[in-house]
């Protein structure tokens, strides 16, 4: 049943995106797409570099934490 499997895959992807969104984890593909749309001459970072920068920044000086 290819359509069924497709739906399951879509569902999983939606769940994953919600999880990433809730934990405010950035979307690498969307970032690359954004870079290419705004200025194609910029070479996008690799996925590993991208997450490294993100983590350093997220838990850097501006990080916030609540009770």
């Amino acid at each position: 049943m290819p359509t069924f499997m497709k739906k399951v895959k879509q569902g999983c992807r939606a769940l994953r995106n919600i999880g990433k969104g809730v934990s405010n984890f950035p979307d690498y593909k969307a970032y690359v797409q954004h870079l290419q749309e705004s200025d194609p001459s910029i070479i996008p970072p690799t996925e590993a570099e991208f997450f490294k920068d993100f983590l350093d920044q997220r838990y850097g000086a501006s990080a916030k934490r609540c009770c």
Partner: protein
């Protein structure tokens, strides 16, 4: 001709809507009156759920729209920072449900779980009314208004906004306030965890295992499969459940159990070491993976608790108003006014949220009209969490509740004395009953496990075990609840230490440049050690305090948190007045006035009350007198302990005084601006960004 039917249809729909809203309001009022008036029989938890949800719905529909339409004129055509500065990373237009989830996960921590549990000593009614009314009129307003103000200023932080709108003095004082509250917050949450872990090999083993699990997840996300947060989280969760299950074997094993059985002080020192490591190690290794695990666990368990309460519909055993409204309660000291209102901070109004509302969330909002749901709605959800914590605390029999939550200075250290003492307060309980609960949850003792986490865990275990597993799984659910609370409290502690380190580097960097360099290791080690020493001192003192660290430190935390809320509301009022909306400034000024009255009264009483249980100075004086006379009470073992108590009470008094002066300083600085605008009719500049039309029509 064609428009005619549309208008009629619209009218019809609005009539049904009006009727629906009247019905919701009536339902809410009816449930509230049941909660308020029921006296003779046990009341069912369903009334708390209905009363709160109906009130939230009405407030969200009418009050939040009033604020957004009349004061700020939120406009879906106005571009948000996420649109204007979209960089694909920090500023990203985000789906409003996803952002709502993120915002909620960021604001909700242990606060809304602990405060209501402690406040339950006064009965369920005072806490319930304050949680609902406080959230709707103060807490949600603060979160929402700060979110809007920050959203119209590129997502600037509350400190920056204070500096720009009030002045450098107010801004600097706000920054110092944030640092101070961070130190107290970490210490007090640390006590909560220590009291849950001490003498409990099962809980200790499970929490200890979260560290290697987090390290593995960190390596996985960094090297094995970069950025695969979903996979890593699932693996982490499975390992966590394994650790939880094997915790029981450890606890039952004669050889392993002693390895994981520690007294409170030892655990406190371990946490201090852990906090230091988390602050100096790279974030990807320990802090980030823990954070993800804790976020998912938090949202999941809170949802489970809500579902559990709605399925089980437990009966509330605590009286509506207990005798302890007179201020003689063992869990925290002081009268209902002002101390109930600082004991329940998060869940009703929490100043900490102003940091989140002016942090990540305003940079992610896709459409101005989403702010109602994120700001106002996010806090309503936290308030509901507080209501559920109150239900979980009050469904325990009051005798058991006091056995867990009263310090040993009040109920003694053995079960028989505790049972007699608590029964003499009018909450009959037998020694067997207390022992029974302890053996059900597989703990050696549940006496004086203060801090709220253990009693909440017993309440949660009672609910969950009624759905899955019955009494056999009580112990599993209890430790599951402890794990859940400890994991996200520890996440607050490690991330908070790190944030505190950056703040300190920032503050000290003004005096000596090199110390501000965040990559210079000597500076990193020095400032981390300073921050850890700051909260570590209060933690160790609180854990060893024979009078109960929670009893002393939780009010201090409540006062600082409410003061931060007052600072946020001062900033918000200033912005509203400066943008010529002064006729609506009561929206923020009324909760501000209430918070000022509450925190100033509480602060004054904590310093100068003639009752040693409440007043810091009197406690120091009484202890000194006892020391001089050589007649120390049984709870204080020796002269050194007495000297420690005297010094700590004096220190706490000074701190409280500093906090009070701080808030008055910010208030006076802001009133200078209010005077200029309202009386001298000066037109002052604001830092609000000008209107730019939105380029995207709808974000999915």
């Amino acid at each position: 001709m064609e428009t005619q039917p549309n208008i009629i249809q619209k009218k019809k729909r609005s009539t049904t809507m009006v009727l629906l809203w009247i019905a919701i309001a009536l339902l809410g009022g009816f449930s509230l009156s049941i909660i308020a008036l029921q006296r003779d029989e046990h009341i069912n938890a369903i009334w708390f759920v209905v009363a709160s949800l109906a009130t939230y719905a009405v407030a969200y529909r009418f009050y939040s729209r009033f604020i957004s339409n009349k004061i700020f004129g939120l406009n879906k055509k106005r571009a948000t920072p996420a649109q204007l500065y979209n960089d694909g990373k920090d500023y990203v237009p985000t789906n409003k449900w996803v952002l709502y989830g993120h915002h909620f996960a960021a604001i909700a921590g242990a606060g809304p779980l602990v405060g209501p549990t402690l406040a339950a000593q006064m009965g369920y009614l005072p806490g319930t009314i304050w949680i609902i009314a406080g959230a709707v009129l103060a807490g949600c307003v603060q979160d929402f208004v700060v979110l809007i103000i920050s959203m119209r200023r590129k997502g600037k932080s509350i400190g920056e906004i204070a500096r720009e709108e009030i002045g450098p003095v107010g801004g600097y004082l706000a920054l110092v306030g944030v640092f101070a509250i961070m130190v107290i917050l970490i210490a007090v949450l640390g006590i909560v965890v220590v009291n849950a872990l001490k003498a409990s090999p099962w809980a200790m083993f499970t929490i200890a295992m979260t560290i290697p699990i987090a390290l593995f997840m960190g390596v996985y996300m960094r090297f094995l499969r970069p950025g695969k947060i979903g996979e890593a989280s699932i693996i982490g969760f499975v390992l966590l459940v394994l650790a939880l299950v094997s915790g029981q074997w450890v606890a039952d094993s004669a050889t392993l159990a002693p390895l994981f059985t520690f007294e409170g002080k030892t655990i406190a020192y371990m946490m201090i070491g852990y906090g230091f490591l988390a602050s100096v190690l790279p974030v990807w290794l320990l802090l980030a993976p823990r954070d993800y695990l804790s976020t998912f666990l938090k949202v999941g368990v809170i949802a489970l608790l809500a579902i559990g309460i709605m399925i089980v519909l437990p009966e509330i055993k605590m009286p509506a108003i207990s005798r302890f409204v007179d201020g003689t309660g063992p869990v925290f000291s002081g009268n209902l006014f002002p101390f109930l209102f600082i004991t329940i901070a998060c869940g009703a109004v929490s100043g900490f949220h102003s940091l989140i509302s002016s942090g990540t969330s305003p940079k992610l909002i896709a459409n101005e009209k989403h702010a109602n749901m994120i700001g106002y709605g996010g806090m309503l959800t936290e308030s509901f969490v507080a209501i559920m914590a109150l239900v979980a605390a009050t469904l325990l029999s009051p005798g058991v509740y006091f056995a867990i939550n009263a310090p040993s200075a009040a109920i003694g250290t053995d079960v028989a004395t505790a049972a007699t003492t608590i029964s003499s307060w009018g909450f009959s309980v037998s020694a067997d009953e207390i022992n029974n609960i302890a053996s059900q949850v597989d703990e050696s003792s549940i006496l004086s496990r203060t801090g709220g986490a253990p009693s909440l865990a017993v309440g949660m275990a009672q609910i969950f075990s009624k759905i899955i597993g019955g009494p056999q799984l009580m112990a599993f659910w209890y430790h599951f609840a402890i794990l859940f609370e400890a994991v996200f409290i520890l996440t607050t502690i490690d991330a908070g230490t790190r944030v505190g380190r950056f703040m300190l580097q920032d503050l000290l960097g003004n005096i000596w440049k090199p110390i501000g360099r965040i990559n210079w290791m000597p500076a990193v080690y020095a400032t981390s050690a300073l921050v850890v020493a700051g909260w570590g001192y209060f933690l160790v003192v609180g854990v060893t305090d024979p009078l109960g660290g929670i009893n002393t430190l939780w009010p201090l935390f409540g006062i600082t948190n409410q003061m931060l809320a007052a600072i946020a509301l001062i900033v918000a009022t200033t912005v509203i007045i400066k943008s010529n909306r002064a006729k609506y400034c009561w929206v923020t000024m009324a909760p501000l006035a209430w918070l000022l009255i509450v925190t100033m009264t509480a602060g004054w009483q904590k310093i100068f009350s003639p009752l040693p249980k409440i007043g810091f100075l009197k406690q120091a004086e009484v202890t000194q007198a006892a020391l001089d006379a050589g007649k120390l009470p049984a709870a204080i073992p020796n002269a050194d302990a007495a000297k420690q108590i005297i010094f700590n009470n004096q220190l706490d008094a000074v701190l409280t005084g500093i906090f009070m002066l701080l808030i008055l300083g910010v208030l006076l600085d802001a009133m200078r601006i209010w005077y200029k605008v309202l009386i001298k009719k000066e037109q002052l500049p604001t830092s609000e960004e000008s209107f730019k039309e939105s380029t995207i029509s709808e974000v999915s």
